[in-house]
Amino acid sequence: MSDVQGQQHPLSTYFWVWGGLFVLSVLSYLVDISPFEGLLKWSLITLFMLLKAALIVAIFMHMIWERMSIALTILVPTGVLLFLMLLMAIEGDYISASRLAFFSQ
């Protein structure tokens, strides 16, 4: 099995991703100390978070070089978690409304 060479990518690819992750982290920190509020703040935080996650999974974890069978096996069930998030958000809203209606003094 010595013919297996594994993943080979130029050094610059890794350094670009590394730098990108640093920049995105700085940006999300800046959003936190900036006067941005509400939807703008949340969407920026989420955007930077998703970009960082995509960079790590795609390049550092070599997902874009893997076969489609692995990529789909991992990413599709993970995507379904968004549905769980939606359901629990609705449920949380309902509980919050119930508490305010019945337990607030």
């Binding site: 594994g6 993943q7 050094l11 390049i59 096996t73 991992i74 629990m88």
Partner: protein, 235 residues
């Protein structure tokens, strides 16, 4: 009745079940078994962390007391100035740096550069230990401030429970990752991956894909922190 199926046809029923599962069929072609299984494990781990984070989201939405402001709760007094999230920001950069050194370790592992791979794995482990150390400091500070799983002086009681559960579980992952990194680093230094020396515990032959497999785990730990950083500290 019990005669074996003729060559070239697939058996059916229970016998077929046994045949299929004992055959050399595989879904994940072109990757080592260990790497495919690490991906499957990470998928299950994704679901665990997702349950924690979604649960945190739910209790935060449903909480009637105001949620503590993470920026000021986690602020650190630096030279007389309250800097918001200072420690968390440093922890984030430490973990991202460790992800970078890990990615390079995998690359040099495949190039059979033992010296560089070992050094980069040790650097990754050291950064991981730094992260855990800072987390211990953070926990100690919060406990001193009166934050408990059942209540805290800043607002909604669910804050402490979410914080200790999520960061505690993540910190455990980092600690386990450091142990695995040290084991693989030792194997690289000893040359076990070159000579395909069987492992002490599993008996599996050493190979350089092991560096990539432990790397997948480590990047995953960094990945989870990206979400914790955004949802718990920044949101």
């Amino acid at each position: 009745m019990s005669e074996s199926a003729p060559k070239g046809t697939l058996a059916t029923g229970m016998e077929g079940f046994v045949h299929d599962w004992s055959s050399d069929q595989q879904v994940f072609k072109g990757v080592p078994w260990g790497k495919a299984m690490m991906w499957i494990f990470l998928l299950s781990d994704t679901f665990i962390f997702a349950c924690f984070l979604v649960g945190y989201m739910k209790v935060r939405i449903a909480a009637t007391d105001p949620w503590p402001d993470a920026s000021s709760v986690f602020a650190l007094n630096f030279m007389g100035v309250e800097v918001p999230l200072l420690l968390i920001a440093i922890m984030t950069f430490v973990l991202i740096s460790s992800s970078g050194t890990m990615a390079l370790a995998v690359k040099y592992g495949y190039e059979r550069n033992r010296k560089k791979t070992f050094a980069l794995l040790m650097a990754t482990a050291l950064l991981g230990l730094t992260f855990v150390g800072m987390q211990v400091f953070e926990w100690a500070k919060l406990i001193e401030d009166g934050v408990r799983p059942w209540g805290n002086p800043f607002g909604a009681a669910q804050f402490g429970a979410s914080f200790f559960l999520i960061t505690g579980f993540h910190g455990t992952h980092v600690t386990i990752g450091v142990i695995f990194l040290l084991i693989i680093a030792f194997k690289v230094k000893r040359g076990s991956l070159e000579t395909q020396r069987p492992g002490f515990l599993t008996g599996r032959k050493g190979r350089y894909e092991m560096v990539e497999t432990v790397g997948l785990y480590w990047h995953f730990v960094d990945l989870v922190w990206v979400f914790i950083f955004a949802f718990f500290y920044l949101w």
